[in-house]
């Protein structure tokens, strides 16, 4: 098995605060790799660094062996990386289906002339895209909202809509940022089966999530970070027994108290 995503000595500073500090880890191809840690540990910052929304202060990120450090998000999408957001990034001026169709951007010709003249090739590709995206919406469990305006959808459905949009790009690797946040138990259960089905398609999944039950059930491998540093790494069973992780989560006294300030 080979590493699809490799992060080496990655660091990010915000005005003197080390949000991520010399972090290294590998994500194996085909794994569901979860990243957990207390609030403010730097999980979302890590996602933003890996997906090109932030520029790292130091370190490298490689995808399939190619250096992608600091590359623009749209280029990473073309290379097969897709993601969702903790605080949704949905185009509220578009319909639900159009949001998913936006995700297929990299697979569609987008020439201005072809668009203006509605050339038959483009028209057919767009029709196929529409069908494919309807199926994707049903797959993630928000098929009931296909003809709705995005702005008319409830929160739980919007979270799934983002996953459908990310899948529309046909990524090799999918990064999910707290997909279960704000979902009830039934919805979380449905989400778990969606994540497992995605993994079953051979898509590598990187998951940031607070819901431990969900994480322990779906993950092949876990990375625990705290204050921007790696705390522990291993299988769900190893992490469950790890003393430092227990301390970080339950506030035990096995570690020296840290003097580092909380990131602003």
């Amino acid at each position: 098995m080979s590493a699809l995503l490799s992060v080496t000595n990655l660091s990010k500073e915000f005005g003197g605060v080390h949000a991520i500090e010399a972090l290294s880890f590998d994500v194996q191809r085909g794994h569901v790799h979860s990243i957990i840690g207390p609030n403010g540990a730097g999980k979302t910052t890590l996602f933003n660094l890996v997906t090109g929304l932030y520029q790292p202060s130091a370190g490298t990120v490689t995808l399939g062996g190619r250096d992608i450090t600091g590359r623009a998000p749209h280029k990473l999408c073309e290379m097969g990386m897709a993601r969702t957001f903790q605080n949704l990034q949905i185009c509220m001026n578009m319909s639900a289906l159009e949001n998913v169709m936006l995700g297929r951007h990299r697979h569609l010709g987008s020439g201005a002339l072809a668009a203006m003249l509605k050339l038959p090739g483009l028209r057919k590709a767009d029709r196929d895209c529409r069908e494919h995206c309807r199926e994707l919406m049903a797959f993630v469990g928000c098929g009931d909202y296909q003809d709705h305006a995005a702005s008319a959808m409830p929160y739980g459905a919007l979270k799934r809509l983002e996953i459908a949009r990310a899948l529309a790009a046909e990524p090799d690797i999918l990064l999910l940022d707290e997909p279960a946040a704000g979902l009830n138990a039934t919805e979380t259960d449905a989400l778990r089966s969606v994540i497992q089905k995605i993994a079953g398609k051979g898509i590598t999944v990187v998951l940031v999530e607070h819901d431990m039950k969900l994480v322990m059930k779906v993950s092949d491998h876990l990375l625990v970070i705290s204050y921007g540093r790696k705390l522990a790494e291993g299988t769900p069973e190893e992490i469950r027994e790890h003393p430092e992780v227990i301390a970080a989560y339950l506030g035990g006294g096995t570690r020296e108290p840290r003097t580092q300030e909380v990131p602003a």
């Binding site: 001026n93 951007h105 767009d126």
Partner: protein
């Protein structure tokens, strides 16, 4: 849950149904008007609406505000004037060259300024408009300065189309004014068709995504800088073509075509008619061309009235005239 959010497909809401309706209205308009003055207004409405439809792609759909769009309108008009009168090009060749030139100009100008966001982009485009007006006023040898510059009548396939002429078609006698209206109406219909096609395409989705969530667009693979530049160029070419036609129609242009006031008028049309509503901005154009006709006795009040209308729309109909009205009709139907 079904209902409120469902996008119903009735003929008015479907864009191409709207295009059919527009074509019908434009075709039947001659039955409702009687004199040259009315045709003159209709022609001006069609040409202004053409600019607005292009500007709406940039402002309404892609969410990038330009406060200097009259610069491209003026550039098209002046390029046509200079190319026909000083370089003896035929009007159609001049119009197409002007459109290509303005497209390149928009690309060159757009590259640096489209990296700006929000108010900063507005300020940069405002500056662009001011520069254009200054150049047209001061390059007297080329542009005629504040006195303006004349244009020959338009010629199509070797036939001259003068507002003062009379033309025979299959036993029908049409005046030049009537023919000009038909030409301007046809241009508007084509402009709308192309715009609708763009909106309903991957390109159109990418543009609307710029407005909805630029981050979503980026992670979905949209090169946002490239797409902003693209829609900027497209909307500039729309303005250039309409500007060239207006120049030939009126036969004489002054730097006011590229003035700051004209840019504001264009953005008012888009906001008034309805951002991201192609048919709304046509209504907006009609209103803004007609208002001065009702205010001929109080010309100095024109800008005041424009301002008051803009404020009233922002307060009472923030989505613009047509979208707000359609929304109410839809609610009433349920």
């Amino acid at each position: 849950m079904k209902g409120a959010g469902t996008m119903k497909k009735n003929i008015l809401m479907s864009p191409y149904g709207g295009l059919l309706l527009l074509t019908l209205i434009l075709a039947l308009m001659p039955l409702a008007v009687s004199n040259d003055f009315h045709y003159d207004l209709l022609t001006k409405i069609c040409l202004t609406a053409t600019v607005a439809v292009g500007l709406n792609l940039l402002v309404g759909y892609a969410g990038q505000v330009s406060l200097g769009h009259a610069a491209f309108y003026g550039a098209g008009a002046y390029a046509s004037a200079i190319l026909t009168s000083q370089y003896n090009l035929s009007p159609m060749v001049a119009l197409l060259s002007a459109a290509a030139g303005v497209g390149v100009l928009a690309w060159l100008v757009g590259r640096p300024i489209l990296h700006l966001k929000g108010h900063y982009l507005s300020m940069a485009t405002l500056g662009l408009g001011v520069i254009a007006a200054i150049v047209l006023n001061n390059e007297e040898q080329l542009t005629g300065g504040p006195d303006g510059i004349g244009l020959p009548p338009l010629s199509l396939f070797g036939h001259e189309l003068s507002v003062f002429g009379e033309y025979q078609f299959a036993g029908l006698t049409l005046t030049g004014v009537e023919l000009w209206y038909l030409l301007a109406a046809a241009v508007l219909v084509v402009a709308v068709l192309l715009a609708l096609n763009i909106i309903d395409s991957p390109l159109g989705r990418a543009l609307r995504a710029l407005h909805g969530s630029e981050i979503a667009a980026q992670v979905a693979g949209v090169d946002t800088a490239k797409y902003k530049l693209r829609v900027f160029v497209i909307s500039a070419v729309y303005a250039s073509v309409a500007g060239s036609l207006y120049g030939h129609y009126s036969g004489f242009i002054t730097p006011t075509v590229a003035s700051f006031e004209h840019s504001i008028e264009l953005i008012t049309i888009v906001v008034l008619g309805g951002m991201a509503s192609t048919f709304g901005v046509i209504i907006g154009a009609a209103i803004l061309v007609l208002i001065p006709q009702f205010l001929t006795d109080f010309q100095e009040l024109e800008m005041v009235v424009f301002g008051a209308i803009l404020m009233a729309v922002m307060i009472f109909l923030p989505r613009g005239l047509l979208p707000s009205v359609l929304q109410r009709l839809q609610r009433g139907a349920q």
